[in-house]
């Protein structure tokens, strides 16, 4: 396959993700369970705010995925680059400052920077925006890797039981016994640095939790009346799994995924500290926070990098958490007080 084509596909994957999400949403709205849930959500003010914020982030991420090849710099340029990229200054400068800071003879700044500049003079606001896409990619691709895998294996283990269950349980017990850090570091060392590799590394450690839950729920449902009767009526296993059990699992899976998404975004930052984060030429909040460790100890203190990155991560994670909670409350009838 043409490597250029692969590259283009990879770049457009966030667009694809968003497309899939919208499609699922529209289809789900038609079902009674989800339609009711969405209506309830729409009435919840904090959920509305959370969704709006997520929407803003998603738009930024999308804008950063649409790009073209710029012959002058021989690099890819996206919409975000076109609007927000600034010429670099010499070095650090505080938000909206006139002069550089952190060097012997401060120089005058060429343009205004809302959030200041970092150690090589890049605009911090721009860098923060570039981190959005990475966060969504990590969250999104890991989810894309983890969910089908966990569903497949969890359903198989829970429904068929016996040796299949034993094998799958064995695999995930082994995987969850190895300290997560070791797995992640080792996988990045084996596969090299890159977003996909990090997603694989994060995915490997995460799918266990989801798989276990799916397996547990499947076992519960396996014994239910409707499944037993379906079996008695001669319905094939495949149909039972897909048409009956799977939809019952979806609420749990979707809520766990939404909450897990925010955990993944947070994990990226920790991976940077461990030295196996996203490569440096890709925007990343984790790298910004990692660099900030030393910056706080400087004189004068350089605080804007850390603040910007933390603000961005917290904003996204908070919104995802609020949205996930509201979704869970909306879908689960018992939790209304």
């Amino acid at each position: 396959m043409n490597p250029n084509l692969l590259h283009q596909l990879y770049n457009l994957s966030p667009v694809a993700l968003v497309g899939i999400a919208i499609f699922i949403f529209l289809r789900a709205r038609q079902t009674p369970l989800w339609g009711e849930a969405f209506r309830r959500l729409a009435r919840n003010p904090s959920a509305r705010t959370a969704m709006a914020v997520i929407g803003i982030y998603a738009t930024i991420g999308l804008a950063d995925s649409v790009g073209w090849y710029d012959a002058a710099t021989q690099e890819r340029r996206t919409v975000i680059d076109a609007i927000f990229e600034r010429k670099p200054e010499r070095t650090y400068s505080a938000p909206l400052a006139e002069m550089t800071t952190g060097e012997a003879k401060p120089q005058k700044i060429r343009e205004k920077h809302i959030l200041g500049t970092d150690s090589i003079g890049a605009d911090v606001f721009y860098r923060t925006l570039k981190g959005v896409r990475t966060a969504f990619q990590i969250g999104g691709m890991t989810v894309l890797i983890v969910t089908p895998l966990a569903l497949l294996l969890g359903l198989t283990a829970g429904y068929y039981g016996k040796w299949r269950d034993d094998v799958i349980t064995y695999i995930y017990t082994v995987l969850s016994s190895v300290p997560g850090i070791l797995l992640q570091i080792a996988m990045v060392l084996v596969l090299g640095k890159g977003i996909i590799q990090i997603c694989l590394a994060l995915g490997i450690t995460r799918w266990v939790g989801l798989c276990r839950m799916v397996r547990g729920e499947t076992i519960k449902h396996r014994e239910r009346e409707y499944v037993r009767s379906a079996k008695a009526l001669g319905v094939t296993d495949m149909v039972i799994l897909v048409r009956h059990i799977l939809p019952n699992l979806l609420p749990v899976v979707i809520i766990s995924t939404t909450l897990g998404f925010s955990n993944l975004v947070l994990s990226e930052a920790i991976l940077s500290y461990l030295g196996v984060g996203v490569p440096d030429n890709v925007g990343s909040w984790g790298n910004m926070i990692d660099a900030a460790r030393d910056e706080l100890a400087r004189d004068p203190v350089i605080w804007w990098n850390l603040t910007a990155a933390t603000g961005a991560i917290t904003g996204l994670a908070l919104s995802l958490n609020l949205f996930g909670d509201a979704l869970r409350d909306a879908v689960d009838p018992r939790l209304r007080s």
Partner: protein, 313 residues
């Protein structure tokens, strides 16, 4: 009971084998024995003879199956051997490091569990009021902050600006409390939000049960219901959720140990990874697995003790 535990331990052996195999692949899949030897031999570059000598001495020239067999037998007898990088006795280091790790992580653990139960009960008692809503929002916000920011910010404010405890160091002889104070406070703050929300969910689950409605109808006071019935029943999922992590406390928290200079096992593992020290990594992974399995066993036992409906077969 004893038979149950023994059986589970026996069942654990294939898991341990799997873990050791996986660790071996992760290690030698990423770096050849030569590069590991070179790394550990000298800061300057060693001769090929020295490299081969090192490999032979550590047994990495044997075929993988032989290595695995030897490793499994050794590990099961807790003969961890010596570190590749520093030639220290690994078991000694683990024993020395376990203490500090346990001290910090168990303080965090106890504090978090007690604190979370307390706040969750309050939130459940005052559910629907602004107390509950504020708690929820605060918890979600706290859960959305990156852990490294907690550590960095916590050290900056608590140790540096406010000077409540040493920035670094660990000397139990001169007052354990001051060394544990700040790291525990940070670990507590970082982890409590998730626990509060979890316990609150358990409590609310219980409150919505039929027997609560019956009790209320019969005129039992809210406080009594909460304290005597709901809490006790909610303890089942609470305990089973928390017991699993207890064995893991020995491994400690890597970030806190690094920043605060606590000579625990978390940073030991991390350094071993950084210096490609296979024998240490293997020993620590083995230990971690063993502890994890203990945790699973303890969860099952705790479940059986706390919930009269469950019996251990």
């Amino acid at each position: 009971m004893l038979r149950f535990v023994l059986r589970r331990l026996l069942q654990a052996i294939p898991t341990l084998l799997g873990v050791l195999t996986l660790t071996w692949f992760l290690f030698f899949g990423t770096a050849s024995a030569e590069s590991i030897a070179r790394r550990n031999l000298s800061s300057k570059d060693p001769t090929p003879a020295q490299v081969q000598g090192w490999i032979k001495e550590h047994g990495y020239d044997q075929p993988p199956v032989v290595q695995l067999r030897k490793a499994t037998v050794d590990m099961l007898m807790f003969k961890f051997g010596k570190s590749d990088a520093t030639k220290e006795d690994i078991w000694e280091r683990i024993r020395q490091g376990a203490g500090p790790s346990i001290m910090v992580s168990s303080t965090i653990f106890i504090g978090t569990v007690l604190g979370a139960v307390l706040v969750a009960v309050l939130a459940a008692a005052f559910r629907g009021t602004y107390i509950d809503k504020t708690t929820t929002i605060l918890c979600v916000i706290m859960m959305s902050v990156v852990y490294t920011v907690y550590v960095i910010g916590g050290q900056y404010f608590l140790s540096k600006q406010l000077r409540y405890g040493p920035i670094w160091g660990f000397d139990p002889a001169s007052g354990l409390f001051k060394y544990i104070l700040v790291p525990s406070a940070i670990g507590f703050a970082a982890g409590i939000a998730t626990e509060i929300r979890l316990y609150r969910t358990f409590l609310l689950d219980e409150i919505s049960q039929d027997y609560v409605r019956t009790a209320r109808a019969k005129g039992v006071s809210e406080t009594r219901i909460l304290a005597q019935h709901v809490l006790k029943n909610a303890l089942i999922p609470i305990i089973t959720n928390t017991v699993a992590v207890i064995p893991g406390l020995i491994l400690g928290g890597l970030l806190l140990e690094n920043f605060f200079g606590i000579p625990g096992l978390g940073s030991y593992l991390f350094e071993a990874l950084g210096s490609n020290d296979f024998s240490v990594v293997r020993a620590m992974v083995f230990l971690g697995t063993l502890l994890y399995i203990f945790g699973l066993i303890m969860t099952d036992i705790a479940y059986a003790i706390v919930d009269p409906r469950v019996r251990i077969d």
